[in-house]
Symmetry: C2
Subunit: 149 residues, 2 copies
DNA sequence: AATCGATGGTTACAGATGAAACAAATACGG
DNA sequence: CCGTATTTGTTTCATCTGTAACCATCGATT
């Protein structure tokens, strides 16, 4: 092993990033073509579809997005009337975000597409392999989160 | 399994992207603090450090970057005099890019840091787990590349 | 209840990004 | 050769991004 040289193509951070980028772009094509959404917008839709109602802050945590991304994505979905804001009764800084009928319809359209996409990915590995891979992801996530706070 | 709902936190594309983003940011802090590089610049440095001399095109393929990113990163590293361009004798569209002394020094400084970073990641999983994980990455990469061309 | 720090969220700004248009050179079919 | 298509690389432009500044509100302390 030459330790003066780094093999980029087997460097874990690079491989991870490249794969994630590739996968993410491919999937982005789905919701972009279909619904004209950006990634932050898709994540907001996904977050609210899954949880029913969230504040901007919780939404950001739940979907790992910077608050400015959340703010802008929410504004856009509101403009389309795919979500609505309900002021909190006790804390006027907060608004509860909920999908409208139209938003739910869009979400309902995306869910099977997302699942189909994921299924294709999973099939690229076997089910057993996938479990191992998932576990690896988990360990890494956990490791990264430790170093944080 | 409710098939009307997608669990974002276990959705593979999302998990991959989130982890890659986290890891990438953390590592970016290293080369940013240390050398003031952006990610594209770091990749150019890494590509040339590893391969000695490349054209912009090859560099782009080798490091999975859009040609405009390559173009700009190369321009910046040239401005710093970390790399130099040598015109190709047979094809005047092409320039061969090589690191200067200063560029090599920076690369030499980064390699052990990169390896240390990767080692810490690897240790988050066992060695056996890592092999499985690597294999999973490979399968996914391959699968994604198939769908391409 | 007045003050002061923390919190939820938006906005302004500066930098990074990719699609598309571009320039310069080469390849290739007639 | 000539003209056209292709390749390499840069630039332009419109969009996306995060940092930092900001505003309004809340909570705790006095």
């Amino acid at each position: 092993m030459n330790d003066k040289i780094l093999e980029l193509e087997s460097f874990l951070p690079y491989r991870l990033y490249r794969l994630a980028d590739l996968v993410s772009r491919e999937f982005a094509a789905v919701y972009k073509d279909r619904l004209g959404l950006t990634r932050p917008e898709w994540r907001v839709l996904a977050g609210l579809g899954q949880h029913g109602s969230l504040t901007a802050k919780t939404l950001g945590e739940q979907s790992a997005m910077h608050k400015t991304k959340v703010s802008r994505a929410v504004a856009e979905l509101e403009r389309r009337r795919w979500l609505s804001r309900t002021p909190d009764e006790n804390d006027r800084r907060i608004e509860h975000l909920t999908l409208t009928k139209a938003g739910l319809a869009a979400y309902g359209e995306m869910v099977p597409l997302a699942k189909a996409f994921e299924r294709r990915l999973s099939q690229a590995m076997g089910a057993a392999r996938l479990a191992e891979f998932d576990y690896g992801l988990e360990r890494l996530e956990e490791f990264m989160r430790e170093g944080e706070e």
